[in-house]
Amino acid sequence: MSKYSEELTYSFTGQVAPPVRETRIGVCAAYCGECSELISDVQSGCAQLQERKFAQSGGCQLGLAVGIVSSLTNVVVIIHSPLGCCSGFVGSGGLRKTMRASKGKRDEDFVWIHTNLDEMDVVSGGIPKLRDAILYAEREYHPDAIVIANSCVPGIIGDDIDSLVSELDGRLSARLVPVHCEGFKSRYVASGYDSAYHGVLRHLIDPLVKYEKAVPDENQELRDRLRYSRVVNILNVGSNSNGDEVELSRLVSALGLEPRVIPLHTSLDDLARLREAALNVSICATHDDYLLGHLKERFGTPYIIDTLPIGITSTSRWLRLIAEFFHLEAEAERLIELETADLREALKPFRKVLEGKKIFVGGGETRIITTAEFFAKELGMKLVGIKAHNIDRFVEEIGPDLLGDELHVNVAAGQPAEELAVLTQLKPDLYCGHSGANGWVSRIGIPNLPLFGQALNYMGYGGAYELARKAVKALKNTNFVKNVSNNVSLPLRDSWLERDTKLNIKEAAAV
């Protein structure tokens, strides 16, 4: 329980920015080989020192950080940067509407502002523009919070956004939340989650204000504590759907507990009540150990960071850990028995189709390990390989259990050139991967399905059924990928696709 609090420390809110994950956690970001080798190389520390000769564009921590804070209700996001950073909002900004609608929340236009730094600002600093942008946001939109996402340019030239925030804080109706998520500072994009939560924890989580009641109730505090003693915060992530949240809440409720889904898509008032819970439960360690570790240190709220509740084994494991905390083991077993009996029966026809077929899964480490495990153990598929964005301590416990020693593991964030070479050589019948990868996999003719989706269900027992259903559906007509691969060209040379991807990995140059 709350195991990372013993190994890691979370008291960084005295600093303007959190440490990046390279230093805080230690990460392997480049690897190609068998699972057993990887585990021993991670233990010896070698795996963490690897880099690649030919690199392709991965993510940026700015995008991930802004993804978290921009989901909050009634916020304006200021990107302190030239026009390019987060310009993807022109395509994805509208998704905020659909996500909020799926959760039954009030429709809001998503407003973002670029400080539009130019050559002159690089020389003389961008603070005046940032000040103008903050005042404009306050005047025009009266938001609850104005988030300031700091990018590479001000990071390198040394704009002191925190002094500006100190100067304006308290003089505006909006709360100001600086987020230090300069892309060049970390190659490990999940640092962006820490940057975002650091801003939230430093600037939005205050001591709770209690108001005196007109009719005093001396038992109010006890009553409140009783109620919170059953509240379980389920920490959502940008890649889950509302359906996932409904399913996980259903399972937690079935144990007689009170689930509450936070922090994405919530209001500042909801965030202020983060601490009013008996337990914080993660559904993805990559996202929220920084937040949960800090809440444990600051408010004493215990947490569970373990597995991602996808598939039968992982969902049951996730439920058991929650139940254990509340001493509801017997209830959990009854629930699991009931749920899995129904589900296994329902999965039978899917298993018939998928059994023995080869599958490859790529994406975030906990997500792919749990997803791959479901395909292999419950649906009888032959897992030929996985590709993880990175490998760190969060999968030490779930990884080795679920994967065979000889399994092919590629550690790469993005890097489709390596992944397509691996896939060309392993020839899976089905691929399940992160957005951005599936299009390339279609181009080489392998049927595929997305690893996650904001409109699709994946988590819990209901999600497991949906995932199996989607996998079978993908194989009902494979003409799309056949036609695409026969007619759309790929920039990769044949010699590259045939060669051992290990050749692209090198030891990092000493710094």
């Binding site: 000769k53 030919f54 690199a55 392709q56 564009s57 991965g58 993510g59 940026c60 700015l62 200021i78 940067s81 030239p82 026009l83 390019g84 950073c85 987060c86 310009s87 993807g88 022109v90 395509g91 509208g94 236009d109 407003v111 973002w112 502002i113 670029h114 539009n116 130019d118 002159m120 690089v122 003389s124 523009k129 103008d132 942008a133 404009y136 025009e140 590479c152 340019v153 390198i156 030239i157 892309g183 060049f184 500072k185 970390s186 190659r187 994009v189 964030a413 993005g414 489709p416 050139a417 951005g436 990868a437 390339w440 060209s489 920039p491 990769l492 040379r493 590259w496 692209n504 710094v511």
Partner: protein, 446 residues
């Protein structure tokens, strides 16, 4: 002090984004981005979705080679890392042209990526400096095409009197870029003019190398294309004209007369083609005459776009379709002289009502402009409302259209609520598709 200001909901990416979307429009071309790891994928991703689902192209998205500069390179410099990245890109990726682009980080620390690229000149590698802080999308387009004009296109002494270059159609930023270039190519071919389009159907790097015989460059945007056209004049001696992307029968007829006239095409041929194309246009347009008249599809038009589309769209809606041009907002010109010059274009709007024209870069302010342009409802019993209205703009205006209760069609970047494959909106057949899409939204609930 900088003269630019912050921008709310910018309809542009940065210079690097503009460079990437431009390269994604070129056949078999691979960008190599010297920057931090996320820039290329994110910028390419913006066009994948917001350019009417244009996709990442031959080598976009996560496939883009990137030097992946991090904090230690910021301290020690990243040129060595770039060199290694170029060498290995040549091993992995097959292309006719490799273009090294730079991001903000490496430019601030002073890496000379263009010189590093020059070492690989024999492998079809060129380098262009494109840090985001140089400016918006158009800046990146201009820098990349200027480099191609200067370094790739082979000088030719004998010009072909009937070959023209088309500049200013920015791939992805014009979500109809390829359809538009193909339609212009088709129309100009009818009057005997051959086009060099860079991004249209049938182009290749080899063909582009041979563009040097063009005798005229046509710049179709007030904000992009002039710089490479000037470079073309300087290197290849080809003059250029500033023109406009024509939409619909009136504007396209004038366009053909202007360009044909410049190149000495026989006026009789031009008039024959115009009559023929116009007849074709109206033979289809006729189909909506009944429904348009019977249920009144005349609308107050509110146009929001960059200078490339704002006037030409307004003109089509007013002069050809007969809508009432109420308000046109332009989101990209910043210089007072440029603005004054651009305003003159609206002199050719020949409807009884002339539009209010504003320059507004902050998307959220558009609603205020609309409200200030029309007498407010002071709870009168009889109120002459700005209705029925139709917003023709970018995807960002969806919220505006909802607030106004207006019809809505996204045609200018970003467009993420519909898929654009081979459609055009320029010329005669492009205008027909535009009419189809505009009116479809009015009958969609039937």
């Amino acid at each position: 002090m900088s003269t630019s200001t912050f921008i709310e909901r910018s309809k542009f990416t940065c210079a690097l984004g503009g460079a990437l979307t431009t390269l994604a429009g070129l056949p078999r071309t691979v960008p190599i981005v010297h920057a931090s790891g996320g820039c290329a994928g994110a910028l390419s991703g913006a066009y994948n979705v917001a350019a009417g689902y244009r996709g990442v192209g031959y080598c976009g998205g996560g496939m883009i080679p990137t030097s992946n500069i991090a904090e230690n390179n910021i301290v020690f410099g990243g040129e060595e890392r770039l060199e290694e990245q170029i060498e290995n890109t040549l091993v992995a990726l097959d292309a006719d042209l490799y273009v090294v682009l730079t991001g903000c980080q490496v430019e601030i620390i002073g890496d000379d990526a263009v010189s590093v690229a020059r070492r690989f000149r024999g492998d079809n590698v060129i380098g262009v400096s494109t840090p985001g802080f140089l400016g918006n999308t158009f800046k990146g387009y201009d820098e990349v095409l200027t480099a191609i004009v200067g370094e790739l296109i082979v000088p030719v002494a004998n010009k072909d009197p009937l070959t023209v270059n088309l500049f200013g159609v920015v791939p992805g930023h014009d979500v109809f870029f390829r359809g538009n270039l193909d339609e212009l190519t088709r129309l100009l071919a009818r009057v005997g003019i051959h086009t060099n389009t860079f991004f249209g159907t049938g182009e290749s790097i080899d063909r582009i190398r041979g563009y040097g015989d063009a005798s005229l460059s046509i710049v179709l945007s007030p904000a992009a294309g002039e710089k490479p056209a000037r470079k073309f004049e300087e290197v290849h001696g080809t003059p250029f004209v500033l023109d406009e992307l024509p939409i619909g029968p009136t504007a396209t007829a004038e366009f053909l007369r202007r360009i044909g006239g410049k190149l000495g095409v026989a006026p009789a041929l031009i008039e024959t083609v115009i009559a023929d194309e116009s007849g074709y246009y109206y033979s289809y347009f006729e189909r909506i005459v009944d429904i348009y008249s019977d249920v009144d599809f005349q609308r107050y038009a509110i146009v929001s776009a960059d200078s490339y589309y704002a006037h030409t769209l307004t003109r089509f809606l007013a002069n050809d379709l007969g809508w009432i041009p109420h308000l046109t907002a332009i989101n990209d010109l910043f210089d007072d002289d440029e603005r004054a010059e651009y305003l003159k274009r609206f002199d050719d709007i020949n409807s009884e009502t002339k539009p209010v024209v504003v320059f507004e870069t902050n998307a959220g302010q558009l609603l205020k402009h609309v409200r200030n342009s029309w007498a407010r409802n002071k709870n009168e019993k009889y109120y002459d409302a700005l209705s029925p209205a139709y917003v023709v703009g970018t995807g960002i205006e969806r919220g505006l259209a909802e607030k106004l209760g207006a019809g809505f069609l996204a045609v200018a970047f970003p467009v993420s609520n519909r898929v654009i494959l081979h459609k055009a909106i320029t010329g005669f057949s492009g205008a027909l598709t535009l009419v189809e899409d505009l009116i479809t939204n009015l009958v969609a609930a039937r």
